[in-house]
């Protein structure tokens, strides 16, 4: 079990390069009367080392955007490029390997494997690739996430915040080009949520990690470098250097 993608190993992010790009992305569900255009011609770029938040009302297409960017779902038309690789050209297996090597995930409901302990959950993508974790990287990861003393515990023995930090560790362990987070703080109390957001910010600042996070929490989005607002499958606004206030203001504006 030593499958790797075409670009093996860990790549240093090129300063100023693009981690992911979506060009004129269209995603259509159903047909005829029940046809829904979840994405309706979305074009966006995610620069290396940038922390982007995606906001929008339910049904705006933000989760669909995330899933298509992450290679969990295919566009109806348009293009998604991760690290310069066109996802539309990949078969299921190559897509799986790309997810394993180049993409990290954090979900709202922690989604850890119940039979594995924290450590095993973190290194799962490497285990699946038949690789050993880089010791130094692993150590700095767990100490940054503050879960060094929880590594032998099963998910059922961890609090929600701890579980989400383990999920964060799993997302980062392969040093992916991108980490996608889908409402990562949705199930957490405010204290744990703050901790997690600070850690995400720290990964961007310390390691130059690229992060794309879907959220409907203005405070959460304020940790990002920019916020993309979606409505009816279009990007309707981009807000650089956001604060909670400017975000809430924009939400109100768009709601009118």
């Amino acid at each position: 079990m030593t499958e790797t993608v075409a670009s093996p190993g860990v790549r240093e992010p090129e300063a100023g390069g693009t981690a992911a790009r979506i060009l004129d992305g269209v995603k259509v569900y159903g047909s005829g009367a029940t046809l829904v255009r979840a994405l309706d011609g979305v074009t966006a770029e995610f620069a290396n080392g940038e922390f982007s938040a995606v906001m929008g009302p339910s049904g705006s297409g933000k989760s669909t955007l995330l899933h298509c960017l992450a290679g969990l779902e295919r566009l109806t038309s348009g293009q998604v490029l991760i690290d310069g690789v066109d996802l539309g050209q990949l078969k299921d297996k190559a897509m799986t390997l790309l997810r394993r090597e180049r993409v990290g995930f954090v979900f709202q409901s922690y989604n850890l494997v119940p039979t594995l302990d924290a450590r095993e959950n973190i290194v799962l993508p490497l285990t699946l690739a038949g690789r050993k974790p880089d010791r130094d990287w692993f150590d700095s990861l767990v100490s940054t996430l503050g879960i060094g003393d929880r590594l032998r515990h099963r998910p059922s023995e961890l609090s929600g915040g701890q579980q989400q930090r383990v999920a964060m560790g799993r997302a980062l362990v392969t040093r992916p080009a991108l980490v996608f987070a889908d409402e990562p703080t949705g199930n957490l109390d405010s204290r744990s949520a703050t901790d997690l957001l600070e850690q995400m910010r720290a990964t961007v600042d310390t390691w130059g990690q690229t992060v794309v996070m879907v959220t409907h929490d203005a405070r959460g989005a304020s940790y990002a470098d920019r916020v993309l607002f979606l409505a009816d499958g279009h990007i309707v606004r981009e807000l650089p250097a956001p604060s909670s206030d400017t975000i809430l203001e924009t939400v109100r504006e768009l709601g009118d």
Binding site: H67, E73, T96, R99, V113, T115, A129, R170
Partner: protein
């Protein structure tokens, strides 16, 4: 609540379909057995009534006792001069004379037709001209035999031997083999032959000469004038026949005897098949239990919600039992249908194997229908009882909280009660095996069931440590292997009960393998230690049967210069001290030359015609010594005085009693040798002797010449044949066990959909996912196999120990075979995982993750 039950069933069609399949297979096997044997019984009952419809009364020799269904009739002959006396009795219209004996046809290819040593008998009979309406045979072609050069043969043999009217055919009898012309081909009622027996008809005087004795016949059948009842006919015959040892019975009685004979022969077959149907149903019970347990666990919230909105505990239990009832009903009905199809298949199979079965429709009796439905439904309900009770105990508040599916087993309680059940079961088994109790089979069956249930109860405690050990190699396969192992270990209750079904099947396979292997080894060592003869001529017949080699053969072999001594072995039914058995008779002068039966007391060689040799065991248990009187009753000649002349040790070879040939000549009804043993003259090479002996055997196409090694192999081959049949039947139980594993996996995967989606999302390929599920399946299969092998070998050891007195003295565990079983189980695990793994790999990743 019925609506809830129904929607519950409909919502989980697939998982219940597999459960129903397990019940269906077991019921089908049972129903198939019933339908088949009922049909055969009914057909033969009808045939016997037809065949004897014109027979009013039968005159024949009395029997001291009835030797049993599987033996030839074993009566003395009666004087042929009774025939004119019988003819003159008022009311007698037709007389048919019965002469019966061994006759075997030789086919076109020079090979003997039929094998009386292993299959249906080969019989010769007299055809009485002028009594056609009383004959059971009808001419399909040609005409009855006339004179000493003609025979008529049955259609089945004609087909097998490619023989036609006008052909010359060699017939083996107790005389020298001879060639005859086929004058006609007959059928028996609507069948080509009676149950596949091969039939050769001679005219009366030829039959007396080659089958019986000139001047004697076996029986005289009479037809009565209209108005004379069978009882009246019997009375009139009895009035004129005053000789002692004669009996006159009604045609109705003879019909009944024939029918009973068939019933008894079928009863063995019946029981044999029903035992395997029982095993299949027992294994199916585990499957049903497991399915319901998992389904109840998965529906915990739904059931709690029902309780919360006001359903009573009884209603919840009832809804689960209701599902079981419906499954039981549907599966039993379908099983009944499948059973009818199975009976048809069985009939076709037996026909293909050479049993000529009469064509007839299938008979589905009320008993078959009722038994199938009752058994199927009862088993479904019984298996669902515990899960249903658990469902009733779900507290309403469970509806509101996250459900913990992976519950920990109560280790101590399970271990203790499992062990207790196991111990009681083992006790019953040992009692059944070692003590001479009435209803032994009940002890054995009950004991085996308890042993298996005990292990199943303790299973969850054993599952984790066993999976850790057995699954160790999986870890070499990296991450997927580890995941597979931890999946198998996460719910030990589920894993162990999925494995339990396989455990039962594998244990039975291991048990019979150990028994067979031990028996073979024991036979081998007896042949090595106790047989001095260099060659055995086999293929003659079974002990107690009516077929064999003409005594001429042993004489001819003994006369060869290359052969130092040769003797035939004869067999017959006797009754000693109230027990009926088949004993062997040999020429005492050659005994020591050919066998080492470990003489302990007395002298075998000087045993006169009223001497008998007994085994040390019998001498000890019955307190007999050389010189003691030991009366022996024969069916033909009644009670006869015998005196113990020798005691021997090697009972494995000769049984408990050995009679001198002189006694056999006087009292056995069959005067044919079932085997002939020969020892070579000193200095003669085996090859030279073989050539000389085969020269003599050329005239006996039914004979097979075997040296010691070949003889051993032949004995082993007989065991292997039976073994093959049993493996085939146990295969059904194994298939059901595999369905169980597949079902458990499918249910587990359904439950883990989200987790699997997650694994796919973080980079598990489809292939890796399939490999994880396969790994889990193989682990479950291996768990069941390892448990089964251990239990089976232990049971085998107990059974072999109990058979010590039956001549099974050596315990032999066929390691290679058991290894093959383990390998097959691994393969089976892969097979069982195929469906679930395929489905899991096709999961839509997104939908799996977002499912709650």
């Amino acid at each position: 609540m019925w609506r809830v039950t129904l929607t519950g069933l409909l919502a989980h069609k697939v998982r219940y379909a597999l459960t129903a399949l397990a019940v269906l297979l077991g019921v089908a096997f049972m129903a198939g057995t019933f339908v088949f044997t009922d049909t055969i019984k009914h057909t033969f009952d009808g045939l016997f009534s037809d065949v004897y419809s014109n027979t009013s009364a039968v005159v024949r020799a009395k029997q001291a006792y009835t030797p049993g269904a599987n033996f030839a009739s074993q009566r003395r002959l009666i004087d042929a001069d009774l025939i004119p006396t019988v003819r003159q009795v008022p009311g007698v219209t037709t007389v048919s004379v019965g002469v019966e004996g061994y006759a075997q046809l030789v086919g076109r290819d020079g090979r003997a037709i039929g094998n009386p040593a292993a299959g249906a008998p080969t019989l010769g009979e007299a055809w009485t001209s002028g009594a056609e309406r009383m004959e059971p045979y009808r001419f399909a072609e040609g005409r009855p035999p006339h004179g000493s050069d003609e025979v008529a043969i049955d259609k089945n043999s004609a087909n097998l031997g490619h023989l036609a009217v006008g052909d010359r055919v060699v017939v083996l009898t107790k005389q020298q083999p001879r060639e005859y012309t086929i004058s006609g081909i007959v059928r028996w009622g609507s069948a080509d032959s009676p149950l596949g027996a091969s039939i050769t008809l001679f005219d009366l005087s030829t039959a007396q000469q080659v089958l019986g004795e000139p001047g004697h016949v076996d029986e005289i059948d009479v037809a009565a004038a209209p108005g004379v009842s069978q009882e009246e006919m019997v009375r009139r015959l009895q009035a004129v026949l005053h000789r002692p040892g004669l009996e006159v019975i009604t045609g109705a009685k003879v019909t009944e005897e024939g029918q009973n004979g068939i019933h008894q022969a079928l009863a063995f077959f019946d029981t044999f098949l029903l035992v395997f149907a029982g095993i299949a149903l027992f294994v199916g019970t585990f499957l049903i239990f497991n399915t319901f347990s998992i389904v109840v666990a998965q529906r915990m919230r739904e059931l709690a919600l029902l309780r919360a909105v006001g359903a009573s505990r009884v209603q919840v239990v009832g809804s689960v039992l209701g599902e079981a009832l419906l499954i039981g009903l549907v599966a039993s009905a379908a099983g009944l249908g499948a059973g009818v199809a199975l009976a048809l298949g069985l009939k076709a199979l037996l026909t293909a194997l050479g049993f000529a079965l009469p064509s007839s429709g299938l008979l589905v009796t009320t008993r078959t229908v009722v038994a199938s439905m009752v058994v199927g439904v009862t088993i479904s309900l019984a298996a669902a009882l515990v899960p249903a009770w658990k469902a009733g105990r779900v507290p309403p508040v469970a509806a509101l909280r996250e459900v913990e599916v992976d519950e920990e087993p109560h280790v101590v309680r399970r271990a203790v009660s499992g062990f207790a059940l196991f111990a009681v079961g083992a006790g019953l088994l040992l009692a059944g095996l070692l003590a001479h109790l009435p209803h032994r089979t009940a002890y054995l069956g009950g004991g085996a069931v308890l042993v298996f249930v005990g292990i199943a109860v303790a299973g969850p405690v054993l599952a984790r440590p066993l999976c850790r050990v057995i699954g160790a190699p999986l870890r070499w396969r990296g991450g997927t292997g580890r995941l597979a192992q931890s999946n198998a270990m996460r719910n030990p209750k589920r894993t162990s009960s999925a494995a339990a079904a396989l455990m039962v099947g594998v244990a039975l396979v291991a048990l019979i393998s150990v028994m067979a292997s031990s028996t073979k080894t024991s036979i081998g060592s007896v042949v090595d230690s106790a047989m001095r003869a260099d060659f055995v001529v086999g293929g003659g017949g079974t002990p107690g049967g009516e077929s064999g080699f003409s005594p001429t053969l042993a004489r001819q072999l003994g006369a060869l210069p290359d052969v130092a001594s040769a003797t035939g072995v004869r067999s017959g039914s006797v009754n000693i001290g109230g027990t009926t058995m088949v004993v062997l008779a040999v020429d005492p002068r050659h005994l020591d030359d050919l066998f080492d039966i470990d003489p302990r007391e007395g002298d075998l060689a000087t045993m006169g015609p009223t001497g008998i040799a007994i085994s040390q065991e019998v001498a000890d248990s019955d307190h007999l010594r050389v010189g003691d009187r030991l009366p022996v009753t024969f069916p033909t000649t009644g009670r006869q005085p015998f005196v113990v002349r020798a005691v021997y040790g090697a009972r494995q070879l000769a049984g408990d009693y050995v009679l001198p040939m002189a006694a056999a000549r006087r009292h056995f009804s069959s005067q044919l040798d079932i085997q002939v043993y020969a020892r070579l003259a000193p200095g003669v090479s085996a090859d030279a002797a073989r050539e000389a002996i085969e020269g003599v055997l050329a005239a006996y196409p039914n004979a097979t010449l075997m040296d010691r090694t070949q003889y051993k192999h032949e004995q082993e081959a007989q065991i292997d044949q039976l073994l093959g049949l049993m493996y085939g039947l146990l295969g059904l139980a194994l298939v059901i066990a595999l369905i169980g594993i597949a079902n458990t996996l499918a249910l587990s995967i359904y439950e883990r959909t989200r987790e699997l989606g997650l694994l796919r999302a973080v980079g598990m390929t489809r292939r890796q996912l399939r490999s994880v599920i396969r790994g889990e399946s193989v682990l479950i299969a291996l768990l069941g196999t390892v448990e089964g092998l251990v239990v089976g070998v232990l049971l085998g050891w107990a059974v072999v120990a109990s058979l010590r007195s039956q001549g099974v003295t050596e315990l032999s565990v066929p390691l290679t075979l058991l290894l093959v079983v383990a390998l097959l189980a691994t393969l089976a695990g892969v097979l069982a995982a195929a469906g679930p793994a395929h489905r899991a790999a096709r999961l839509d990743v997104l939908r799996a993750i977002s499912r709650h």
